[in-house]
Every structure is written in structure tokens, then in C-alpha cells.
Symmetry: C2
Subunit: 319 residues, 2 copies
């Protein structure tokens, strides 16, 4: 029987003892732990593995290192935290060179510097096969309430922060982690639930609906489709299934959506740099949250309503 990610998560939820400092544990984009003084600390780790997430001789290791950090910054952004520090655990096979290692870590450190995230430690080891990078990060909530996968309410608008689909053609290595936007959205108080779209929109809508115990209605004609090389655009099917978009999916109170354009006010309050411009705020409503009994459905341009299965990338870990 193949090992599924969900069965392991369920085992951990059943078995793990959770202490009083833990506000948000297993099952969300990131965890929230309260410090002794009550400060909100956010933690998350993400692995980037050769032959699973990248091919060494096909993708520049600078971009692999950048992605290894960007993935975890995206998770911190989905919860509304400011990323502060990261650890990098690196397992290296015998066939890597010093310049491979410098390229990979150089790419990671360049993004870290740009985003004011400090690499403060980690671990180095041999790997029996393939490069394994695991980046864990610490973020601060600074008084903001975390945005979780739970909390969406029937009647909320479903909103994405950028185009979807076709990420494999390049965006998955160069994507912009939406942590500044995530901080501003969390500060606004208008967002009831959030996650970052990594498994494909269809599957991630199901994640959000399961944790919030709601249904969803996705308007296929409203999906923002990524521009690809040669003047092509991603298809609706790609937007639903491809994954690694790393845009945020939000459930927003409908009367609050218009107010979210006041991002510039939040930017100043949050001490974000000027170059974090309004252009980051490309919010697109793609549907509504419904009652759980209505399930997860898609509506096409002609008004036809069909069930929307999770699809997307199935995390199967065993053979």
C-alpha cells in the first residue's frame, strides 16, 4: 500500500503530545508557538531534494538554493509572519563539487539578503544519493493574528494573489514568495483563511475546505492564467492542477475586499521597503465559499456546475 502524506500527518496528529506553548500545530502552512512573554513565533521547514524537486544538471543550483528558501518564506507569508532567520540542513553526495555547493548556498543567501532573513545555522552531512536541502525558518507575528487554513465562512470570496498554471516552465524556480503581502493581509483583519498554492489550486481548495469545514464554488472563467513563453497562456486545467504557483489563496469577507487595496498604508505600518509596491497587490476573486454540504464545485463560462475533484499533485510517498 502506498504511503500517503495525509496518513502520516494523521498518525502524527493522533500521537504527538502538544504543549501549552503551541497555538497552531501540525496541519497548517506553518506552526505558531507562543514565547514566555506571549509573542507569536512561526516555524516551518521545507525540503528540496535532487531527483524529487530538481534535476542537478538541468536546473542552475543558484535557483535551486533560492527555491529552497523561497518555499519556506511562502509558507510563513501564508500565515502572515515576517521571516527573520533560517537554518539550512544540507546533505551532500560524494559527486558534488565545491562550486556546486557555493552556487546552491549562494542562491539561497542572495534571496536571504534581499529579504533580510539571516541564515543562522544548520547542519552538514554526507548524503548516500542526491543533494538534500532542508530549510527551516523562524518568523514573527508582531501582534498580528495568524491566517490559518481554518476560518473560512460561507459567503466569503475566494481570492488568489497572482496568476496560476504552467509553473513548471520556470516560475517554480523564480517565484516571488508572498510574505510581504501575507503580512499586510494578516494586518488587515479581512482574511478569514489562507494558504499558499503549492499542490495545485484544486487540491489546495480542498485543503482549505476540509480545515474550514466549508464548500467552495470556483468560477473557471475568473481564474488568472499565467503568461508562458511564446505568447501562450496556461490552460484552465493547468491552473487547477499544476501546483507550485506559490500564490496565496484567501477567503476574504466580501465587504472587505475593496479595502485591501490600501496595501500602501499597511506597507508603512509594517516597515516594508518602498519597492514592495502596490503592483504586488494583484488580487483576483475566483469564487465563493459555500456550505460544506454544497461540496467543491467548478462553474464554467456557460454556467455548467460540476464537481471539482482534488486532482493536482498527489503526494504519494511509497511505491
Amino acid at each position: 500500500m502506498p504511503l500517503s502524506e495525509q496518513s502520516i500527518i494523521d498518525f502524527l496528529k493522533r500521537t504527538a503530545a502538544v504543549g501549552p506553548a503551541v497555538e497552531v500545530g501540525i496541519g497548517h502552512d506553518a506552526a505558531v508557538v507562543r514565547s514566555p512573554a506571549g509573542e507569536g513565533l512561526v516555524l516551518k521547514s521545507d525540503q528540496t531534494i535532487e531527483e524529487v524537486h530538481f534535476v542537478r544538471r538541468e536546473q542552475p543550483l543558484e535557483l535551486v538554493g533560492r527555491k529552497a528558501l523561497a518555499r519556506v518564506l511562502s509558507d510563513l507569508g501564508a500565515i502572515g509572519a515576517r521571516p527573520i532567520a533560517c537554518l539550512c540542513s544540507l546533505a551532500l553526495p560524494d559527486d558534488v563539487t565545491e562550486s556546486d555547493v557555493h552556487a546552491l548556498l549562494g542562491g539561497l543567501l542572495e534571496l536571504a539578503k534581499r529579504d533580510s532573513v539571516s541564515l543562522v545555522g544548520g547542519d552538514l552531512s554526507r548524503s548516500p544519493k542526491g543533494i538534500v536541502v532542508d530549510v527551516s525558518a523562524l518568523g514573527f507575528l508582531e501582534g498580528r493574528a495568524p491566517m490559518l487554513r481554518s476560518g473560512a465562512k460561507a459567503g466569503d470570496l475566494l481570492v488568489v494573489t497572482g496568476p496560476l498554471g504552467g509553473s513548471r516552465e520556470g516560475w517554480h524556480l523564480s517565484f516571488e514568495p508572498r510574505w510581504r503581502l501575507g503580512m499586510a493581509l494578516a494586518a488587515s483583519g479581512a482574511v478569514h483563511a489562507a494558504l499558499d498554492v503549492s499542490d495545485g489550486l484544486a487540491r489546495d481548495v480542498h485543503h482549505l475546505c476540509r480545515e474550514s469545514q466549508v464548500g467552495a464554488r470556483i468560477e473557471l472563467g475568473s481564474l488568472p492564467l499565467r503568461e508562458l513563453a511564446g505568447g501562450r497562456r496556461a490552460t484552465i486545467e493547468q491552473a487547477l492542477q499544476d501546483g507550485e504557483d506559490f500564490e496565496l489563496l484567501l477567503a476574504v469577507a466580501p465587504d472587505r475586499l475593496a479595502g485591501l487595496s490600501k496595501f500602501d498604508r499597511h506597507r508603512k505600518e509594517l516597515r516594508l521597503p518602498e519597492e514592495t509596491s502596490l503592483s504586488l497587490l494583484a488580487l483576483t476573486a475566483i469564487g465563493q465559499v459555500t456550505a460544506a454540504s454544497a461540496g467543491v464545485v467548478a462553474v464554467d463560462a456557460k454556467g455548467n456546475v460540476t464537481a471539482l475533484p482534488p486532482g493536482g499533485y498527489q503526494h504519494q510517498l511509497g511505491a
Copy 2:
């Protein structure tokens, strides 16, 4: 040219930008980051990898999972932090079974529960070969000053917290991470420098001397030697070279050593459980800190002084 751990650490120290929140970064047993309110947060990750750190069919996966967490608790203890939460990133090859995964995570969770450390998240992925576990942990300093590798002064006593050598015969899988003792030692203010002995005493003495810019004189006759199966004891050579002892090596102000036996007072102040008994406090003085110009030397029972090379496990990452 083989890739050495030190050359990668040196690259990171040269290249990484360090933000104002970072109090202790790359190169110590764990990192210290200050929260917005000034609380001391401690971070560390450690990898435990099949074919590098363990053999799947020779060592029970429960103990491998336990070790994966215990290693990072040992690092947090060396700096004086109370471990609070951890993340587990797990990469699984196609040939693992559900019971393998439950055994490994079960062993980790049992220690986590015993030590009141909450597993709050992590990441799951396929591995191209071998199980890769990376545990990262968050600890709180609660107002204590961190114990670092730097800070040892000529005239300090060098002290270890338990017997050394022969860890490979079993202790490396069942060792007791000294975090409670580390907290008490940090609270005492008597410790000028500390690290956990993972690379072998000889190599770790050199680590401490390099970071503190001091020399050391090790009395070989004073080394506490581990009791092994069949009434044997570890040899002095094993105590110097084997590694994975996970005892703390401390540089202690000589007039403060006797006072450290008042551990029970610290235990209550630190809200540690009763079973954290005085028996944990098996401090053994094994030498003195000297001026850097005196180098690192060993003194045998006859008073002969010889240079003590680092030896121990050489972290060579390349072929």
C-alpha cells in the same frame, strides 16, 4: 579536493548577511535570535541519515527517531536553552513501510513527550535513496545568557558531564541529552564556554580552543571512561576519538566548580521535574584552559606532555 565541513562553514560566515535580531549565528552549537521584545530564542537543526548515521536493518527505527530528536536537544542544552518545539522533515525512499515510519516517528514522539517538546510541523517528501530525517528545534533562554564555544579563559577548569568513549556500542542511540543540566549550568553563571561532545573529545577541545582563542591541557588519567558490555571500559584513545558521547564539555571558573553541586536549587528555579535528580550532575574535571600559545596538550599518568591533535571523526563531505 574533498569538501570539508569547515570550508563550507567558512564560506557561509563570509557570505551570509546577518540581521540585527541575530545574537549568535553560524559556528556555535545553536543560534540565538532576539524576539522583538528581547526574548532569547534558540534554533538548531540536525540530520540523521540512513547509510551515514544509521543502518536500517541493524538499528531499531524507534531508536533512530529518538536519536534524531535527542541530537538537537543536546545542542540546545549545550547553549542553556529549554527545548520547546520541533519540526521534523522526513524524506522517505520507496522501500519504507508504514510500520517503519510509525516506528521512527514513534521513537521521536516518545522522547518529545517525555521532555515536553512539541512536534509542531515539518515536511514530508520522497527520497531517491535512504531515509533522511532533519529535526529542527526551538528553545527559550528565559533570561539566561547563552553558553557559547567562545568565552573560555586561561585558568578555567575543563569539565565533562559524564563518561566518554565507546559510544558506538550503544550509547549513541540511547544517550541522554543534557538539556536540563545545560539550563542549570547556564543559570549558574559559572560556565565560561560549553559545547556538546559529538565529534570526539580531542576534536571538540580544539573547537572550543579555536573559538575561545585559548589552549588546553587534558589530564588523560582524569578522563571518565564509559563502562562497556562484558565488564570492559572504553580506552583513553576511545574517549579522545570516538565521538557521539553527547556529554557537555565546559570551561568553568575554578572557584565556582564546587558551587555547581547546588543543582537542586536551580532545578526548582527552572521548574524541572523531580526526576531530574542530582545524579545527573556527574561533573568531572579533566584539565585546564591555558594560553593559546601553549597549544592543546595531553598529560599522561607519568606527567609526560604531548601535543593532542584533533583526531576524532573528520567531517569530510566529498570524495
